[in-house]
Symmetry: C2
Subunit: 348 residues, 2 copies
């Protein structure tokens, strides 16, 4: 997500932003063991945006447990997901800890510390049940959640099954660590033969993407963090995307963005556009923000990186910013009704 926008699906509202004062398990023992084992002099800690203010206290706790000469460094890079891994800090520290996101790919160098929510998910499921079909009529329900509620996934499934539902879950693809897990850019875990999917988790960011990717399914949102049940509504989202694609149809020159973050490099898609369009130019960058694009004089942009910046933050940009699929429509290679949600598969 961009550094400066607060869109409806903003990740800062997904429970990682600590509305409640929670006790997280930072797995300090595991970190201290690694520091001792590797005789580490430098330890890097990276937190998601909503938990950055916890960094100093975690650093304090660590300082008490390791030698005085160990330097602890907090990453100041924007962090909204596993793609935002601070590779600079990772390379320059002996132990590098990434908190709160599950790994896209394991690496010996990195300690991933999942931060599981201790919010009780069952009360909101009880409310959400009212939005699901009666199990007598349609017992099949997909169940998905985010990394931070993964520790309660089996409880959620059991709870539904106790009530007569047939819970359909799967591990999406190799980009996802857990069965039933969704990412902002990957909803393969909801590829189940059910007409309804229950999303249990904070905020609307994930279920909006889920509903866009699976427009044929009813997506019920049980949000235990903000304590609300809603149905994902993609209408506003879709209208915004159609309007953006329409605007881009007049574009003569195109900036094609290749994002340099791990897990976002789709050079094949960028090169395909460049090969076919002589008025397209390749731009490389890490954070894709309105400010960074403003000084380029292009009429429109295609973002081969994070689709959620394109779709959720799109209106913040001064020129149309499209996904590769939307670009195909804007230049007339595909009909308008093929507009679909851009997702990511594979790892880094």
């Amino acid at each position: 997500m961009s550094e400066q926008t607060y869109s409806e699906g903003d990740l800062r509202n997904t429970g990682m932003s600590l509305k409640h004062d929670r006790e997280w398990d930072y797995e300090l023992d595991r970190i201290v063991s690694a520091v001792e084992e590797r005789d580490a002099e430098k330890v890097g800690l990276q937190f998601p945006e909503g938990l950055k203010r916890r960094g100093p206290r975690v650093a304090d706790d660590l300082r008490e447990l390791v030698d005085d000469d160990v330097t602890i460094m907090l990453s100041g890079q924007p962090c909204y997901g596993a793609c935002d891994l601070d590779t600079f800090l990772m390379r320059r520290t002996d132990v590098f800890v990434h908190f709160g996101h599950s790994p896209m790919k394991e690496s010996e160098k990195i300690i991933y510390v999942p931060l599981f929510s201790n919010v009780d998910v069952l009360p909101i499921m009880e409310e959400a049940e009212e939005e699901l079909a009666d199990p007598e009529d349609d017992p099949e329900v997909g169940l998905v959640t985010t990394a931070q509620h993964m520790n309660r996934f089996d409880d959620m499934a059991d709870w539904l099954e106790d009530r007569g539902y047939e819970v359909l879950t799967r591990r999406g693809d190799e980009r996802l660590t857990h069965e039933g897990q969704v990412l902002g850019c990957n909803y393969a875990s909801a590829d189940v033969p059910a007409d309804q999917v229950l999303y249990v988790g904070g905020g609307k960011f994930h279920p909006l993407g889920l509903a866009m990717e699976h427009p044929d399914k009813k997506v019920v949102i049980g949000d235990p963090v903000n304590n609300v049940v809603t149905i994902a509504d993609t209408e506003k989202f879709l209208k915004q995307r159609y309007a953006t694609v329409h605007k881009a149809m007049d574009a003569e020159t195109w900036g094609v963005i290749f994002c340099t973050k791990i897990g976002q490099g789709r050079m094949d898609q960028a090169e395909k556009i460049l090969d076919e369009n002589e008025n397209a130019y390749l731009i490389t960058m890490d954070e894709v923000t309105p400010d960074r694009l403003r000084n380029f004089g292009f009429d429109a942009f295609v973002n081969t990186g994070c689709p959620r910046i394109t779709t959720d933050d799109g209106p913040q940009f001064h020129k149309p910013l499209l996904t590769p699929g939307e670009y195909e429509i804007a230049v007339g290679n595909k009909p308008l009704d093929e507009l679909s949600f851009d997702t990511f598969h594979g790892t880094w």
Copy 2:
């Protein structure tokens, strides 16, 4: 400079932002030779913010001169100075061209293409002369300019000498490529025994720093881009800094920023603060922006990186952001009257 602020000394107003439609010499022959010599498949081009919109045309010109299979990539990273070198793109291209800034240090890997202004500097010097002392009374005058007017530096000196001035110039230190050159963070070239210094160049960004660094000198600004002559006035600037230092005096916790850009790494200064203050925490980042600091819960910040972000963009940050010298004052290690401008020496 931050990505989103437009402070008085903003670099976007220094003539690099193309008020006039100029013909620049992009030295395409030199680039094409390097492409052929190295049998390059990938060419990276990095432009300063104000020239980014010229990128596509330069790419077009290059495309016509090199083989079809050469991929040209434009850097989308923020670029306001030589420190902003896009090392990611540099490492991933066979020929990497950085336009518009003189090198802090030469590297075989990089082609630096200076972009010299073709604005005539003599008319504005004629106006500026009225602000200088009569050469009969005080003939000594320091002369400085920026990289983009360096090609006219000898003409400027000759012009002054023809009028009876004794022009005092020097090459500052190894951070500077040319005699008489100033950077936003280095004014060593004005360390001359003259009470008045003439700055010829666009905008107020450089002369403001110059006047802060040399408060005993009268700094006359001859701006050939905006066609105005003014005297650098540091009062507003200084008041803002004093106010910020005062606010920071109440801080209990400190974030100490280590900037990961080339040419900005002052880890010794960061470590000194960390050693002496147990409520100080190290943060590493590349771009230092208000958004990136907002989610940390610190009461104040010290920036060991670019001093111009600290001093010029300071008011944009939600908490006091100090230079290392200002920090010493805020925590009581030094008296308030030792407040001075933070400059950078050395290279990367």
